[in-house]
């Protein structure tokens, strides 16, 4: 702009500027990636060190020798196998409940006409504004009156009564099914129940998988529920098991970190295999679809 020449200098050209901008962004992202990934690296490397190496200063980034036995010992120090099986059981139940019930309810809100629908859907959305902690005490009282304390019922049963966020998510998806398609199925003699199960569910498989994964993560990582309702150590889940384990081994970080890696492993694996479904969920929430 300041130059009087007709041909701009190389550093003033659009393509150079664009390249510069890209390199700066690339550099920032690379540096950021290191910051983001280093905790994960730290967890894995600490899990493979000897206690002596963990205590040394300055700390090492690579274990001198890989102590794979830390994993075996950590796992055997506490009933982790039992806790893992408990967690898998609860998680499977919660995922089934969330997928089936929320898609059922969402179909009703998306594709069936009835009086008061909009008002009721607004009510669904507004329950998302209630802080979970407000509900915790009265729900605890309710479940304790039902003698459900120290059972998995308080953790599983609510999943079969709908979740506002998942209903919202699935409704957005179901709304994209053309009404004509549903009418056609009705003319063929199908009722809503059949249309939901045989047409809408298979058609909306990505959405259903998104909900399944999100609710898997929720159930697997749930800490508050088991902490509140489960007293018997045999019935513990991995989350409160790990918390108890922290009390048992105190500051033996090699054990704490190896147990942590194992607890996180299923979540990490699912994330890498089903990444695109996480993105699907965000697209819907931010309103770029539906």
């Amino acid at each position: 702009m300041n130059t009087r020449q007709n041909t701009p200098k190389f550093y003033e050209t659009m393509s150079f500027r664009r390249k510069m901008k890209k390199s700066v962004v690339l550099l920032l992202l690379l540096l950021g990636s290191i910051v983001i990934l280093s905790p994960v690296w730290w967890m894995i490397s600490t899990s493979l060190k000897t206690p002596g190496e963990i205590a040394q200063y300055p700390p090492s980034f690579m274990p001198d020798s890989f102590q794979w036995s830390n994993y075996v010992k950590a796992w055997q120090t506490a009933p982790f196998t039992r806790w893992a099986l408990n967690t898998i059981f609860i998680t499977v139940c919660v995922v089934i409940g969330n997928v089936v019930v929320n898609s059922f309810v969402a179909y009703g809100f998306a594709k069936i006409r009835f009086r008061g629908k909009n008002l009721l859907f607004t009510l669904v959305l507004s329950t998302m504004l209630i802080p979970g902690f407000v509900m915790m005490i009265p729900q605890y009282i309710l479940f304790s009156k039902l003698h459900w304390i120290n059972t998995y019922l308080p953790l599983i049963v609510p999943a079969f009564f709908g979740n506002a966020f998942f209903i919202f998510l699935l409704r957005q998806f179901f709304k994209t099914i053309p009404d004509e398609m549903i009418e056609a199925a009705k003319i063929d003699g199908a009722n809503h129940f059949q249309i939901w199960w045989k047409l809408a569910m298979p058609l909306m498989k990505p959405a259903v998988i998104t909900v399944a994964i999100l609710s898997f993560n929720g159930a697997w990582n749930d800490f508050l529920g088991p902490l509140l309702y489960i007293n018997d150590e045999k019935l513990y889940t991995l989350q409160i098991g790990l918390q108890t384990f922290k009390g048992t081994v105190q500051t033996q970080w090699h054990y704490l970190m190896s147990a942590s890696v194992l607890v996180l492993l299923p979540v990490i694996l699912i994330f890498f295999f089903f990444q695109r479904y996480f993105i699907e969920g965000s697209n819907i929430t931010s309103g770029t679809k539906g």
């Binding site: 890209k22 962004v25 690339l26 920032l28 950021g32 983001i36 905790p39 730290w42 200063y57 300055p58 700390p59 309810v105 009703g108 069936i112 006409r113 009835f114 009721l120 669904v124 329950t127 504004l129 209630i130 802080p131 979970g132 902690f133 407000v134 509900m135 915790m136 005490i137 009265p138 729900q139 009282i141 309710l142 609510p158 009564f161 709908g162 209903i167 957005q172 709304k175 009722n191 939901w196 800490f223 508050l224 902490l227 790990l242 918390q243 970190m257 942590s260 996180l264 979540v267 990490i268 994330f271 890498f272 990444q275 996480f278 993105i279 965000s282 931010s286 309103g287 770029t288 679809k289």
Partner: protein, 327 residues
């Protein structure tokens, strides 16, 4: 496209009317009734859950907050005693409220700004951008006790990674979880690590902003800064709004981090990590003062509801609903 679809729809409706006319009225009525009935059948699981697990308990806890209920024996009406004690006789109540407000006031703006910035960076056309997106999103799926344990190790004053990294720049890092001044910043740092969760939301919304607007701005010679503040930011305000509303509600729920990262929820050094919910938890499940804890729960509910209402009121002035395809 919309209009063509609309017109065929109208034509179809007209055709249907012609056919429907001779059909006896009661048949239409019963069909409509059946539709209504199946509608309620489909939403019934939620409806039952709403009454039994949300509305009922919510009202019950309002009543409990005016009693001295302790689950086992007592349940006498005590008027506003619990609320009075809360405001005037419990210093820890104010400590816990202050700690929570401190955490919310820093973590919400920081994570929001961080997520937007990250989304803008990850919206560029750069080789390997998909890998970067995966990396930045990863911490958002990692949660629970394992992650808190990891951060206790990372923030360890002498041999932790954070202070080691700071020492390369000649900074002597604080004692983090052991120094009452630094416990809350420690949790905020931890929250910042998983900023990728919000990022994904913004990224989806950025990709919905039409390219034509940027091209028009380019022709007008607008700078990158101007484009960001005058096109990008206004276009994603609905998502910013959604993010702020939900993360405010989420921010007030902070509990697990403090519970796990201190000795079984004792509130950390000088009660610096005694968050509102932790105090409520101790009242409800350590001493079983359900009346008092319910009063605390309702006060929290009022605060959060108030903030949400303020958000909705002010949202009208800065949220721009025009871009993207609204529902």
């Amino acid at each position: 496209m919309e209009t063509a679809y609309e017109s065929t729809k109208k034509r179809k409706q007209a055709a249907q009317k012609d056919i429907a006319e001779p059909v006896k009225k009661y048949r239409i009525k019963s069909l409509r009734k059946r539709e209504e009935l199946s509608g309620f059948l489909f939403i019934s699981p939620w409806l039952i859950g709403f009454v039994a697990l949300t509305l009922g308990p919510l009202l019950f806890s309002l009543y409990v907050s005016f009693t001295n209920y302790n689950i086992t024996s007592k349940m006498d009406f005590v008027g506003t005693q619990n609320y009075h004690n809360m405001f005037f006789n419990d210093g820890l109540f104010w400590t816990s409220l202050w700690n929570t407000l401190y955490f919310v006031a820093f973590s919400v703006p920081l994570t929001t700004a961080g997520a937007i910035l990250l989304a803008v960076l990850l919206n560029q056309k750069i080789p390997g951008i998909k890998v970067f997106r995966t990396i930045y999103y990863l911490p958002a799926v990692l949660s629970g006790v394992a992650v808190y344990l990891l951060w206790m190790q990372l923030l360890s004053p002498s041999t932790g990674l954070v202070n080691t990294a700071l020492s390369w720049f000649g900074i002597r890092g604080p004692a983090w979880l052991f120094d009452p001044e630094w416990t809350k910043p420690a949790l905020i740092v931890m929250k910042m690590w998983s900023v990728g969760g919000g990022m994904l939301l913004y990224l989806a919304s950025l990709q919905g902003v039409s390219k034509a607007m940027y091209e028009a701005a380019d022709i007008d010679g607008a700078s990158a800064f101007r484009k960001f503040f005058h096109i990008t930011l206004p276009m994603i305000t609905p998502v910013i709004f959604f993010d702020i509303v939900t993360s405010l509600i989420g921010g007030f729920q902070i509990f697990q981090e403090a519970y796990v990262m201190t000795e079984n929820g004792d509130g950390g050094p000088v009660n610096s990590l005694l968050f509102y919910n932790l105090h409520m938890w101790n009242k409800a499940f350590e001493v079983f003062d359900m009346g008092y804890a319910s009063a605390m729960a309702w006060f929290l509910f009022v605060i959060v509801l108030g903030l949400t209402v303020i958000n909705l009121k002010f949202g009208k002035h800065w949220v721009h609903y025009g871009g993207g395809d609204e529902k």
